[in-house]
């Protein structure tokens, strides 16, 4: 007798497998961070045939970090390629703008990886930018020597998500992943 349970696609298993694969897809600009660390994967959907036996497609919902982030397209392509390499067919990326991405979605592991890489991670207390000028803000810690004796050089840094700081103790410049 046919045990149809065996040949039907296990949707939850497939989704879990896909989430695992996505841990290998990295941010091209900050290669220590995976897209999971960044918190930009908003959902994984799996399409099965009417008989439930064939996996017909995958839809990954991704949200961009900044409106103009040029890495977004590269990341989307890398996600597709990673899944295609594992044999998934018909992989689609769905861009989701709302709710807007926030640094609060970054994992703790991601923040630690940033620090080890030499980039100050976004501060835990969401000190999101106010529009008011010359505000006193809590100090940003130097990722090299851990001093809080640091100064802001520019709120705009090497990429859309980063600001430029300098440590007054060890004198090293460093990027800070801005609260967003």
């Amino acid at each position: 007798m046919n045990n149809t349970k065996d040949i039907k696609v296990n949707i939850q298993e497939e989704k879990d497998a896909i989430w695992k694969i996505l841990e290998q897809v990295n941010d091209p600009e900050v290669p220590v961070l995976s897209v999971i660390d960044l918190g930009i994967i908003r959902g994984v959907d799996v399409k099965v045939s009417s008989t439930g036996e064939d996996l017909e497609g995958v839809v990954v919902a991704v949200t961009p970090t900044y409106s103009g982030c040029p890495a977004t397209e590269v990341i989307n392509m890398n996600i597709k390629m990673a899944l295609l390499e594992y044999g998934y067919k018909n992989v689609q990326i769905k861009t989701v703008l709302s709710p807007a991405w926030t640094t609060e979605w970054m994992t703790e592991a991601g923040k630690e990886k940033l620090k080890a890489y030499g980039i100050a991670p976004p501060k835990p207390m969401q000190s999101v930018c106010t529009p008011d000028s010359f505000q006193e803000e809590e100090a940003t810690q130097c990722p090299h020597c851990n001093s809080f004796h640091t100064k802001l050089i520019s709120r705009f840094g090497s990429t859309a998500c980063k600001a430029l700081y300098q440590c007054e103790d060890c004198k090293e410049p460093f990027d800070y992943f801005k609260c967003h």
Binding site: S67, G68, R155, K178
Partner: protein
């Protein structure tokens, strides 16, 4: 096809694209390296927002329209950006003042637009608001630095105010598609933003020891309806040159 909705979205997109293009002219020419990077980062934010709006408009227009065809193949009369954003960069004072006047307006606009009954517009605004907050902060700090700076920097700020103030009236004059948008609930009545905008400008000017311009200044307008200053032609000639010379080219 809802033409007024499309016009509204194109207006929002065009503001971002033209100002993004103008700011990008500073690339490699900024007064100091960190500010060169700052202004081009702002350009990037603006162009990203423009892309979101253009992609949405293209999906509504259909018929093969893409973000690229909208940005690179329309002519001056089809662009609906404010006159303010197409004004020349001149010096740093003019550039940062232009940013301050525009970003303050954009901040108030996006704050309201988050409540649009059009999901996509609300989503784009919600995302963009965070970036615009940084633009307001950066530009207001520069207005204060230069206004309350040296004799020369103050002179240049006074000159900049002289040059740009006449284009600020247009911000609060509702175009036909804006009136329609506000009525239907997917857009904002811009006349209602004026008071808050004026207050913010006043507060920053005061700290910058700069005088508020007279209320009697004649205001130029027309950009929202495609009637532009002579500058837009040159901006488009440079921006669209490649696509027009090698149609369909790709990186």
């Amino acid at each position: 096809m809802n033409n007024q909705l499309i016009n509204y979205i194109l207006h929002l997109a065009d503001n971002n694209l033209i100002l993004g293009q103008r700011n990008s002219e500073w690339c490699g020419h900024g007064p100091v390296l960190e500010q060169d990077i700052a202004i081009t980062n702002i350009s990037l934010d603006l162009i990203g927002q423009a892309r979101n709006f253009y992609q949405y408009a293209a999906s509504l227009i259909g018929d093969g329209a893409t973000e690229d065809s909208l940005a690179y193949l329309r002519t001056e009369r089809e662009f609906k950006n404010l006159l303010l954003v197409e004004q020349p960069n001149s010096d740093w004072a003019v550039t940062i003042l232009r940013q301050f006047l525009f970003s303050t307006y954009q901040y108030l606009l996006y704050q309201q637009l988050q409540k649009s009954n059009d999901e996509q517009i609300a989503a784009i605004a919600e995302k963009a608001l965070k970036e615009v907050t940084y633009h307001v902060r950066w530009s207001s700090e520069w207005v204060i630095r230069l206004g309350d700076g040296t004799e020369e920097s103050k002179d240049r700020m006074l000159s900049a105010i002289d040059e740009l103030w006449r284009f600020t009236g247009e911000l609060f004059l509702s175009a036909s598609y804006e009136t329609e948008a506000a009525k239907e609930g997917y857009g904002i009545n811009v006349t209602l933003l004026k008071e808050a905008w004026l207050q913010k400008i006043k507060d920053v000017f005061e700290e910058a020891t700069l005088p508020m311009p007279s209320e009697k200044i004649f205001m130029q307008c027309g950009g929202k309806d495609g009637v532009h200053t002579e500058h837009l032609g040159y901006i488009l000639a440079e921006m669209q040159y490649l696509q027009r010379t090698y149609p369909g080219c790709e990186w």
